[in-house]
Amino acid sequence: MICSLKKTGDLITPTKARVRVMKRETLGVDVPVVCRQCEDPPCRDVCPTNAIIRNPETGAVTIDEKRCIGCRECMLGCPFGTISFDVNRGVCVNCDLCDGDPACAKMCQWGVIRYERADLADLARRRMAMEKIREAAGKTEAAVKS
């Protein structure tokens, strides 16, 4: 919601947000889906007007709305479905990392969305793995003790 508020100025609606949470209530699954900032973006490859570029200052994959003709080919090209179409303005939109200060990461209270150095992002997964191993080891130890 903070994304849509920031990007539109005054409107809150998930359909105008560049990050969307997909949920399956009965499975207990909630996943935020947002642009991966691919190194070799398929969306850029398929755009007929070269509207998608890598911003030279921020490094973010951005859509130049002046060049965008609203054909939505990029939406088909993205394997993650992170690009959406703004029906009011007739252009495609995606996450541009808010010039390096992403509003969603600031608003997220639980660190689910984090803005961090890409070369250190694997640390989080390794930490999770370590916790799982530690937990399992603890359980095994308890089993051995009893």
């Binding site: 609606t13 209530e25 207990g28």
Partner: protein
């Protein structure tokens, strides 16, 4: 054009199968805030006294608040209001999830359902497009099946659905409206009212969004409030996020306030088997949240072993782990999860259900209900197999026992006689939330004076045990309210809390955002409301709306014939001291309760003896027409001299 509010009321005539849109009137916006406030005003104006709650003249009103669907923390709530079959007077219910936000994003503040459909219908809202569709193929399905079916039918898995299950279809009083699979708008039999209108569900897709008047101010207010919560209520924030409401099992056990054996006791010897920590460690697989929530208090649980293996449930709350637990002398935690999920699927309110079954269990123990009456069901304390079967019978209104249960414990007790009424723990017919009042006097007063019957959320006087005595003195006027076992100051505390909670329910904020820190209670609503709507609200003007909303609900009840005699707790709390646990011997003597009640009426500017409203108070709130009407009926108090209550803040 409004900011915050969508600006549109959707009025649906189920008899004629027509829907029309109306502009949200300024009068409502300026005086009743939103959500519950709007609903209550409309109910008072449009549902006349003596209306049959399950008849076509009753109206079923769904409302969301100006902050619903925005980034205001914990703002994802909505209210459904109607004349209630359990109280035969005012009723409403509130729930979270994401349905309320979707309603606002579709562009509506309120939906008013009138009349009765000839055949089952569901309402489909797709932004501006509104359709009443045939629901015969959904009638008979449980809530989860209905929700899945509607997502398939509309072709959109993100569609939000609020539905009734078999319980609502069969007009069982414990029936409720469920959204997001597991969020029940439980109280007051709203599910039965919805079923009486043959309305199966409301499915919404909303993309239009909510407009914010002062976005930067709002972001700042939101960040500031979250910061206050995390610094001034650190313990609460951390533990509530982790454990959710199941944390209350042990917390209330320590206060002697954990209802046990149908409210006979406030302490359960096996409480640790039901603790929030055990739930978290053993069954919780993930935490989930409602719209815009900072806590993620909802527990998504999976039972891996034992007789209930395979059970999946979400929103496993204290009313489940305690309600199906200690209240029924049951120490099997997994069974409470199974019970909760069954209630969600059948569309049954936990509080009404647990109370009705708990009542039956005590009657069974005392021989008032025999095995013949229960059709073979062994309703001994702690028999969780029987509990699940009882839920099923409530859901399908099956057999003699199902028929009895479908009336809720008050009417069921009246039907049986033989002293059963003593064990029905209700106020005005509505079952009480799970807090034992004998060691928590403000909660007791709150239950007794709630406008929708026995209900902890109307008041939720958490300040009684969470404010420091210094905060109590500054914000309520006396440190004495920190004494849980005393009567002084409680009238003032309860009235203050009731206004705050009316505001919470009208902005549509979750009350768990307001627990300890007084700054949040006092500063937050006006700040976020101003930033969202662009109108300039202050603490005083917002509290005035809270008081106005409370008074119009009270007036509805007064019109239906309710009076002082209905503002009392069940006899048990005045007569029977607790006999177990650290607060053994505690009781709430009736004379002391009368002192609390008198102080409460005085603070409210109502007649101290009868509890009726005065013209002076109603006119002060801009409700002259209400005063005129009540006077014509002889239900208005004559102005009396009263002590001025100082509501601090």
């Amino acid at each position: 054009m409004y900011y915050g509010w969508a600006g549109t009321i959707l009025r649906v005539d189920l008899s004629r199968k027509q829907a029309k849109k109306q502009v949200l009137p300024k009068e409502l916006v300026e005086n009743f805030l939103g959500g519950r406030g709007f609903n209550s005003k409309i109910l008072y104006d449009e549902v006349k006294p003596g209306t049959d709650p399950l008849g076509p003249e009753n109206k079923l009103i769904f409302g969301a608040g100006p902050c619903t669907g925005t980034i205001v923390p914990c703002s994802g709530r909505w209210t459904v209001t109607a004349k209630s079959p359990t109280t035969d007077a005012f009723g409403d219910a509130n729930a979270g999830g994401h349905w309320g936000a979707e309603l606002k994003w579709a562009g509506y503040d309120i939906i008013i359902f009138e009349g009765r459909a000839e055949e089952p219908l569901y309402l489909w809202i797709d932004d501006e497009r509104v359709e009443l569709r045939d629901a015969k193929h959904l009638w008979g399905l449980d809530v989860w099946e209905t929700t899945d079916a509607l997502k398939r039918e509309t072709g959109d898995p993100n569609v939000e659905v609020a539905a009734i299950g078999p319980a609502g279809e069969r007009l069982s009083y414990p029936a409720c409206v469920v959204c997001d699979y597991t969020r029940g708008a439980g109280k007051c039999g709203m599910g039965a009212v919805m079923g009486s209108k043959r309305l199966k569900a409301i499915a919404i897709r909303g993309t239009r969004g909510v407009r914010v008047a002062r976005p930067e101010e709002l972001v700042k207010a939101v960040e500031e409030s979250i910061n206050i919560l995390k610094t001034e209520d650190q313990w609460w924030f951390e533990n509530f996020s982790k454990y959710g409401t199941p944390i209350f099992v042990m917390l209330f056990q320590h206060l002697g306030a954990l209802p046990t054996y149908n409210w006979r006791e406030g302490w359960f010897k096996d409480a640790e088997d039901l603790s929030g920590e055990l739930l978290y460690n053993k069954y919780v697989k993930k935490k989930r949240a409602c719209s815009a929530c900072v806590y993620h208090c909802s527990a998504y649980c999976v039972v891996d072993d034992g007789p209930y293996a395979g059970t999946v449930g979400e929103g496993v709350e204290y009313e489940a782990t305690g309600g199906f637990g200690s209240k029924m002398g049951n120490r099997d935690l997994a069974s409470t999860i199974a019970a909760k999920t069954l209630c969600d699927k059948l569309g049954i309110d936990l509080i009404n259900c647990t109370e009705t079954i708990g009542w039956a269990m005590e009657c069974y123990e005392k021989g008032i209900l025999t095995k013949e009456d229960t059709e073979g069901l062994d309703l001994s304390w702690g028999n969780h197999t029987a509990i699940l079967e009882a839920i099923r019978r409530i859901g399908y209104r099956e057999g003699k026992l199902g028929e009895l249960f479908a009336l809720g414990s008050r009417k069921a007790a009246r039907r049986i006689g033989k002293g059963a009424e003593y064990y029905s723990i209700t106020v005005k017919g509505q079952q009480m939330g799970l807090v034992e009042p004998r060691p928590m006097w403000a909660w007791g007063l709150g239950f007794a004076t709630s406008t929708r019957g026995g209900d902890h959320l109307r008041t939720q006087p958490a300040p009684e045990f969470m404010f420091t005595p210094e905060e109590a003195e500054k914000f309520i006027g006396t440190p004495k309210i920190s004494d849980r076992f005393g009567w002084e100051g409680k009238g003032r505390l309860v009235a203050w809390c009731q206004h705050i909670r009316a505001i919470n329910d009208s902005l549509e904020n979750c009350k768990y955002f307001f627990r300890g820190s007084p700054r949040l209670y006092v500063e937050f609503p006006a700040k976020v409301l101003t930033a969202t709507t662009g109108l300039n609200w202050t603490y005083e003007t917002v509290m005035k709306c809270g008081e106005r909303i409370y008074n119009i609900e009270k007036a509805f009840n007064v019109r239906e014939g309710l009076g002082r005699r209905d503002d009392y707790l069940p006899e048990r709390f005045y007569k029977e001291p607790l006999s177990q646990g650290p607060f053994k011997g505690t009781v709430m003597p009736r004379e002391k309760f009368d002192l609390m009640l008198g102080e409460y009426y005085a603070v409210r500017g109502w007649d101290k003896m009868t509890g009726l409203q005065t013209r002076e108070k109603l006119e002060e709130l801009g409700l002259k027409y209400v005063a005129d009407e009540l006077e014509k009926m002889g239900r208005l108090a004559k102005p009396t001299s009263r002590r001025k209550g100082t509501k601090k803040g």
